[in-house]
Each structure stands twice: as structure tokens, then as C-alpha cells.
């Protein structure tokens, strides 16, 4: 039988250089394992855990910003809803924590349904609407004392369990779990970005009418990105809740959960997958190890300065800067 020949004029589907991606993933995992292998202190592991939580939210924010073309100032709502939902589902309903966490992600996505009408808004109007929306959840969490404990907070809910002898509640266990969750989120993001849906979303961000006129339901695709971003943020909110073991509205719905991911994603390069992750780790460690020492109260002001400098010297973020130095393309796609 004659071998089947592909029409040479037809370009092969984008392979995305799988060997390169595999090497990149391998390098990232080795890098992630280093703190544990080198016997990092509990303090350092604690910082890295918080940085990875921030990485997850920054990635979710970038998914909405880069693929959905929407700038959100309201991710604190999804983070807080995920945190409270997981704590309540596991404590009140007795659902195992590892099942409560994805359910909490679904709760965060459900809470985002209320935001769907705002998808018809664009630019600053969407940003303002979602900012107001986040405040509503903070007020609800404070006022619903019977459910959330109100301003006094919520303490009695289970921590992360032990699975196959690995205590996920320990610093090492939590760190490993978060590395896996961030990696999973990054893979999901990358799969969407490389799909036809990802291509259409890129087009919607810059030319919405031109995209709709060829049959793309832009509102539906943006809605999916909002729900997915809310789900991811809710999952990381839930993980954080079970790691720290305490929740109060002022913490769970703090504006910092909206602002820090933005700073981290833009600093790292929000149009890439690795940028928000790397940006969150660098920004958080800089904040905790350097900025806090320099200015004890209001140290976040230094993050603003760092971001301004980064935007001025490298608009494509840290990853874009590294690629430029390495002689790569300015449009990072890693």
C-alpha cells in the first residue's frame, strides 16, 4: 500500500516544539523541587507557599486579561468565595477537603455568573463594575454572621489531609501540592491558548466585531474565560484557607488579592504563561524579604515603583526582558 502523503502545501499544525516545552516543564519542576531538596527552612517554604498562591491567582487573572481581553480589579471576590466555600463545605457538610476545594472553585465560578451582564461592557467600565462587585461579597461575608462568623472570622474547619503517607498540611506537603496545582493551571491555560478557542479569544481582544462577523460568539467565549478564571482563583483561595486555618472577611476579600496578582502578572509578563508565575514569586519574595525591611508599614508602595520601572524598561515584563537579553523574540510565548 502506498504511503499516505500529506499535501506539502498544507502547513503542519503548530507542534509548539514539544521537546522544548517538555524541557521547560522539566526545568521548572527541578527548580520547584530545589527548596525541598536543599532543606529550605519552614520560614522560606512558608514564603514560597504564599508566593505560589499568588502565582495561581496571577495566572487566573492573566487568563482573563490575556485571553479574555478583560482587566479585572475584582479577583478578591472569587478568592474569598472560594476560601469561605471550601471552609464551610468541609466543616459544615463534612465533605473531604480535597473534594471541597474543587467544589469551592465551582462556587467561585457560580458567583461569577452574577458578573455575566458586565461582559457587554469593555475597558474601564468592566473594570469598575467588577471592582464594585467584589465589595458586595466582602459586605455579604461580614453581615452573614450565622454562616461566615462575620467580622469575628471562621476558625473551626479542617486543614489539608494526609494522602498516601504525605502530610499535605506540612510545609513540604503544602508546597508540593501548590507546585502541582500551579503546574496544572498553567497546562490548562496553555491548552486553551493553543486551541482554536484561544486563537479566537486573541482576535476578540483586538477586533471584536471582525471576529463576531465570522461566527464567533464573543460574549460566550469571554463568559467561559471569566468562569474559568473565577474557578481557578476560587481553588487557590480554598487551598490558602486550608493552609492558614483562619478566615475573616477583611482578609479573604482584601483588595490585595485583586491588586497583587495584577502587579505580579504585569511584572512577569501577562501575555505569557510563565510570566505571571515567575512575576508572583519575584514580587512576593521582594516584598517580604526586601521591601518590608525598608518600609515596615506601607511597603507595597515599593511594588508600585518596581512595576513602573519594569513597564518603562520592559513592557512585555520580566519574561520578555529575559528573552530579549537571550536574543529571542520580543513576543514571549512560553
Amino acid at each position: 500500500m502506498a504511503p499516505a502523503h500529506r499535501d506539502p502545501r498544507i502547513p503542519a499544525p503548530a507542534s509548539g516544539k514539544p521537546w522544548r516545552n517538555a524541557a521547560l516543564v522539566g526545568a521548572c519542576l527541578v527548580l520547584a523541587a530545589l527548596p525541598v531538596l536543599l532543606g529550605a527552612s519552614n520560614y522560606l517554604l512558608g514564603l514560597l507557599i504564599s508566593a505560589l498562591i499568588l502565582s495561581g491567582i496571577a495566572l487566573a487573572w492573566a487568563l482573563l486579561g490575556n485571553l479574555g481581553g478583560m482587566v479585572s480589579f475584582g479577583h478578591a471576590a472569587f478568592f474569598g468565595v472560594g476560601a469561605y466555600a471550601s471552609a464551610l463545605i468541609s466543616a459544615r457538610l463534612g465533605v473531604p477537603v480535597l473534594l471541597a476545594i474543587p467544589l469551592a472553585g465551582l462556587c467561585a465560578a457560580l458567583s461569577a455568573l452574577a458578573m455575566l451582564p458586565t461582559l457587554r461592557l469593555s475597558g474601564p467600565y468592566f473594570a469598575l463594575a467588577i471592582l464594585a462587585y467584589a465589595q458586595i461579597f466582602r459586605i455579604l461575608a461580614t453581615e452573614a454572621t450565622g454562616l461566615t462568623g462575620g467580622g469575628a472570622g471562621l476558625q473551626r474547619f479542617p486543614g489539608l489531609p494526609t494522602i498516601l503517607g504525605l502530610d499535605l498540611g506540612s510545609r513540604t506537603g503544602s508546597y508540593g501540592l501548590l507546585v502541582a496545582m500551579v503546574a496544572l493551571s498553567a497546562l490548562a491555560y496553555e491548552a486553551i491558548r493553543r486551541s482554536h478557542v484561544g486563537t479566537a479569544l486573541r482576535a476578540i481582544a483586538h477586533s471584536e466585531d471582525a471576529t463576531r462577523v465570522v461566527g464567533v460568539n464573543s460574549v460566550l467565549l469571554k463568559a467561559w474565560m471569566l468562569l474559568l478564571s473565577a474557578f481557578m482563583t476560587g481553588v487557590f483561595g480554598a487551598l490558602n484557607a486550608h493552609i492558614i486555618g483562619f478566615l475573616e472577611p477583611a482578609y479573604a476579600f482584601s483588595g490585595l488579592w485583586s491588586v497583587m496578582p495584577i502587579i505580579a502578572a504585569i511584572f512577569g509578563g501577562y501575555r505569557t504563561v510563565l510570566g505571571p508565575i515567575g512575576g508572583a514569586i519575584v514580587i512576593y519574595l521582594f516584598d517580604q524579604l526586601v521591601a518590608k525591611d525598608l518600609i515596615a508599614v506601607g511597603h507595597q508602595i515599593l511594588l508600585g515603583l518596581v512595576l513602573v520601572v519594569m513597564v518603562l524598561i520592559a513592557p512585555n515584563g520580566l519574561l520578555g526582558l529575559l528573552k530579549r537579553r537571550a536574543g529571542g523574540r520580543p513576543h514571549a510565548d512560553a
Partner: protein, 236 residues
């Protein structure tokens, strides 16, 4: 194939289209003619779903008046814009892929290559659709995108504008080829009498948002009302 019944569009106090009614048979090439501001592009926006209107629009027997823009593309209505609107930051080939996957509901790379060949865009396939193409290439991309959605009705908005007469004649040949090859029904907005006469079996003339003539091109261009709408005098 397409029926417009008393279609009216108002922008504030301005009536852009007033009670426009006409029908279109499958396989026809219809010229839509009229002076600037007559409502031709508004009518395309109404048929393709970009602008809401009063009245009724039926396509292949189905009332599509309430269908949104993307659903009309999926129903089989493709269009081009007078000022080309490529999907920015995407290559030419990606533009066609998005149009095919979402407009036609399938992914057939061989068909995309066929369209690139027909529209003489294969060499530009990997170029950025926004910054990498000349104006005429952008106009061909407009048609290619619409073809990728596998339309049965194609709305062409001044795709021949800016071409010299020799190039215009060649492009008219290309449009006839597309009409036969893809079994299209075409509505084309065009000012040039020679183009309308050479391409269309019928012409509808709009003036101040109203249909003032609907006949063969030869009859239309002899109609005193049409002459007056263009020149301001019936004696010209």
C-alpha cells in the same frame, strides 16, 4: 433566498433606512447602488446583524431579524467591510481558520489552502493580517475570511474600490469565478456603472434610505430618478 420587509433604521432623528423591501433569488448577483450616505452599508449592517432594525428579514425562509451577528454568519451570511477589518495580531491563515471553525463549524485545512489559492493569498498566509498586507491584499483577505465561513449569501462592500480599470476587470472575473465555484448568491455595493452592468443581473438603487429603483442594470441607469440622485439633475 433573502427577503427584506419594511426594514427601517433610525439613528436618533436620522432615518438611515425607510421601509426598505426587496427579495433576492438564490444564485443572483445583485448590485446595490446609490450615492454616498444613501444607506447601502447600513443595509449590509442590518442584513449581517451588526445593526438592529425594525421590519422583518428572512433568510432561506427563516426569520433572522432577532439573530445576533455571530449567529447570522453561522446561518450562512458572509460579509466584507468597506474598510478591511482583519482579526489583528493573527496571521492570514489564522484569520481563515477562526472564520472556518466558528463560522462553518468545522476545521478543514485543505479548504483553507484552497481559499488562499483562489484569493491569491498563499504567499501571505503566515504574515500578520494587520501590518503585513497591502490594501488590496487586505480586501482579498476580507473576501477570503467570508468564504471560510462557507456562506451561501455573500455581501461585498466596495471590494473593487481603488482598483484601476484593468485590475477591476480582472477582479470582476475573480468574483464571477467565486460565484460559480462556491455557488454563491452575492450582493455587491459598487458605484461603477461598468462593474454593475458587467457583473450583476439586477440592481437596487437606494437614495436617502429608500429604494428608488429595482430592475436590470441597463434599466436602472436609464431611470431619471437614479440619474438625478447621482447628479442632482434629471437632464445629466
Amino acid at each position: 433566498m433573502l427577503t427584506l420587509e419594511a426594514v427601517t433604521v433610525r439613528f436618533g432623528g436620522l432615518v438611515a433606512l425607510r421601509e426598505v423591501s426587496f427579495g433576492l433569488q438564490a444564485g443572483e448577483i445583485l448590485g446595490l447602488v446609490g450615492p454616498n450616505g444613501a444607506g447601502k452599508t447600513t443595509l449590509f449592517n442590518v442584513i449581517s446583524g451588526l445593526t438592529r432594525a425594525r421590519g422583518t428579514i428572512r433568510f432561506e425562509g427563516r426569520d433572522i431579524t432577532a439573530l445576533p451577528l455571530h449567529a447570522r454568519a453561522r446561518a450562512g451570511i458572509g460579509r466584507t467591510f468597506q474598510i478591511p477589518q482583519p482579526m489583528k495580531h493573527l496571521s492570514v491563515r489564522e484569520n481563515l481558520t477562526v472564520a472556518q471553525v466558528f463560522g462553518a463549524g468545522r476545521h478543514d485545512p485543505a479548504r483553507i489552502e484552497e481559499i488562499l489559492d483562489v484569493m491569491e493569498l498563499r504567499a501571505q498566509g503566515d504574515r500578520d493580517a494587520e501590518g503585513g498586507l497591502a490594501l488590496q491584499e487586505l480586501k482579498r483577505l476580507e473576501i477570503a475570511k467570508a468564504l471560510a465561513t462557507e456562506p451561501r449569501l455573500l455581501l461585498l462592500d466596495e471590494v473593487l474600490a481603488g482598483l484601476e480599470s484593468q485590475a477591476k476587470r480582472q477582479f470582476m472575473g475573480k468574483l464571477k469565478e467565486l460565484h460559480a465555484r462556491f455557488r454563491l448568491t452575492i450582493v455587491i455595493v459598487e458605484h461603477d456603472i461598468e462593474t454593475i452592468s458587467g457583473l450583476c443581473s439586477r440592481a437596487v438603487v437606494l437614495n436617502f434610505g429608500q429604494v428608488i429603483a429595482d430592475a436590470t442594470p441597463a434599466e436602472v441607469f436609464r431611470n431619471p430618478l437614479v440619474v438625478e440622485s447621482y447628479t442632482g439633475t434629471a437632464d445629466a
